[in-house]
Symmetry: D2
Subunit: 247 residues, 4 copies
């Protein structure tokens, strides 16, 4: 089995090292990840310059681009044949609810999915940041389970793992994405040269964190697994919209 790993925290991040170590026990691993932290990169794709692909001393490849660039380049320009899976992470921080749309971790997996490869994004709901190994082992469990129970629909899974020891996990729950309140306001700051600048504020608190959501699951020490799709069409509004435009 051949697995392509990527992330958005950069090729040097501890999360991807844990992932590579865990998965190398059952698969041939190739790591292609951004050369620097690209958190918040979403699905951005670099179109105005070419990408370079370099190899670190530990064998990981790094690209001067986004998480999406990394997977795109690896699959369409570097690897021989499609990998059997794309796994992205372990992200240092949750990717749940509306945040998913901004996430570079999820974007890397999404690119794999768009290219026809079963893909999983794995994030740690960071508190102490001490349990990357838990999330890596969860990823390993999932891949093993997948090998024993293949399914024949395309999959894109968004997995969030509590930042606790593996044996304290209270199981896995299939969830839907929750919703957050609006983000906090930007925070004004003054540069030493007297210009006003603005930091993007913190994410909003959970608005829909009810039963069945990712927020709900991880609060109960469960691994949250949300199957994702990428068709943004709002099918429920189509009839309404037709009426509205008089079609």
């Amino acid at each position: 089995m051949r697995i392509l790993l990527s992330n958005d925290d950069g090729y040097f991040a501890p999360g991807i090292a844990h992932l590579a170590e865990a998965l190398s026990t059952i698969a041939e691993i190739t790591v292609v990840a951004p050369e620097r932290d690209r958190s918040g990169a979403s699905n951005s794709l670099t179109l105005d310059r070419p990408l370079s692909l370099r190899r670190s001393h530990n064998g990981f490849y790094y690209v001067n681009g986004t998480p999406t660039d990394c997977v795109h380049l690896a699959v369409t320009g570097m690897l021989e044949g499609l990998p059997d899976m794309v796994i992205s992470g372990v992200n240092d921080g949750a990717n749940m609810g509306d945040d998913t749309i901004y996430s570079g971790t999820v974007a890397a997996a999404t690119e794999g999915f768009l290219l026809g490869i079963p893909s999983i994004a794995v994030s740690m709901v960071s508190v102490s940041r001490g349990n990357f190994a838990t999330a890596a082992r969860v990823a390993l469990d999932l891949v093993k389970h997948y090998l024993d129970n293949k399914f024949h629909v395309p999959i894109l899974l968004n997995v969030n793992v509590p930042d606790i020891p593996y044996d304290q996990l209270a199981g896995m729950e299939v969830t839907r994405l929750g919703r957050r309140h609006k983000a906090e306001s930007t925070i004004k700051s003054l540069t030493p040269r007297g210009e006003t600048v603005y930091w993007v504020g913190a994410a909003g608190g959970a608005q829909d964190a009810g039963e069945g959501t990712d927020f709900f699951a991880v609060q109960r020490n469960r691994v949250s697994m949300t199957p994702l799709q990428i068709d943004l069409t709002h099918y429920d509004q189509i009839d309404f919209a037709k009426t509205w435009v008089g079609q």
Copy 2:
């Protein structure tokens, strides 16, 4: 009526100038757009540095950030009160099918929608690039229609307009997003310093461009309008996934 305009081509792009001109006849316009071309930026959000907000000689504001940053900053840090609408565009190039997920134009509108504001992304299906005025007038029509026929559900509309004169348009059609084939392979190139680099390849051709899709509509000289939503949960797979994990 107050409208916030943004785009991903940059504040100096002809598409946003056409949009501002058309809409200023019925609304108070504020333009907050990226300082440079950020096509392909998707929903990326700048978290590792603060943003500056500057004003051009023509009154447009520009931000050293992404389309999402622009709308986020304008709404949560600059404008007094929420604008009545966010309109993004006119993009120089279609945003249809799977491409929607990479689009900075759609992302700017999405950020407005996430912040609770009715939002529209407007793109021109560029051929000659001569008909930005058509797309701007379509946007104006939509806003006028919205004023006369308000609805009370949140909306996020993805509008693609053929690159033809306004009077040659064959009406508007409510559509779903089509699908593309996989992107073409990356293209290798050699730098003058001997390093191999890789350009992201062209988008794939249309795979699902059947009746009802955005591709289908614009090929028939119609304006395509797709209502979007941003919940990526794959509800149809939830039961299957539960079975799979033994939940």
Copy 3:
């Protein structure tokens, strides 16, 4: 006469517009400047990606690169034949003393000089920022004087102009670069996500601002003109160094 203009504040900056307007009365002007503010860029040159060259609605060209890139690309890849002069500015802010080494404005002129073209960097010692026209007119005076009094050594001139009306200038003075005290310390700041970050501090105050320096001249409302060279060899230390290494 053909003059290439550039700057480091970006092609849209008021300083370069004033310069273009003033000089177009006596020369054919081509503007090639950065697409965004690149103050502090020094002589940096972009080697890891190619540059794009685009034309603004006002006829100015802009490049997604540094000031040095702009002049380099214009001279070695775009213009037919060498221009007769390269003029960089009008910078919004002084470039005097040690700061010269960090200056993108001076770097653009330096690149012209390295390519064999008489080159001038023009900066305004900004206070109110109201007198770009003064600096532009000083540049025009210099070019006219140059046309009447050509010299046959390569020149690279660093010109700093007080931010006052033209008729209040107290003449021009040929100067040497002064010296500054060390820069102020970096300023710590905390991001909304809790990371400590550091702003580069303000430039140090003048240390050597005595008679004959650029600082001294502009404080007396004179235009400072410093002839520059780019050989960094410390000739006075060569003998000492030979002794030191036992050569």
Copy 4:
């Protein structure tokens, strides 16, 4: 003895690892280097955003900025007291002649010098890239010699080391910077999206590579050591310029 190390190839580059290893035998080493390759950065300084300072698993610090930023931040915001020396390198590639003005390696040392610290830039005249250890040992030799033979003038040394085994070096020579011919023309390329882009061309060949220059020394397998200064004033032209402006 405390030494600050930096470079422009990035904190992960082999050259800086060799340098750290060699110098740690006689000094307490702190490495603060760019998070990614910033070759060609010259003295550019980041003024429009704050810098982050992070620590790699091997104890090296990395900054999301330029070589100049790294030394500036380390000295004015991070280290307690001034380090005894700043050493930059080992650069993968020569920094000789006019190129010195574009070099990030030299710029990092220059920033140390401007902050009052004896500073050395060390570059390998790369051919096979196999002899970083030679350059690192040369740096060690220089520092030891400096400890035994302190001098009390500020120094900024530009050292270029042939890419050969240490015992094949034919000594050290104190040199002046040579001169290059103009750079080669930019190289046009076409992006997959049909836009013409331009790569900065290769550096020109040596024009002044005569006896006494850095080029001359390294061609004879000698280490070249050029003392540098940073006053760009062209003193020899001052009288001429005064006459020219009628002062």
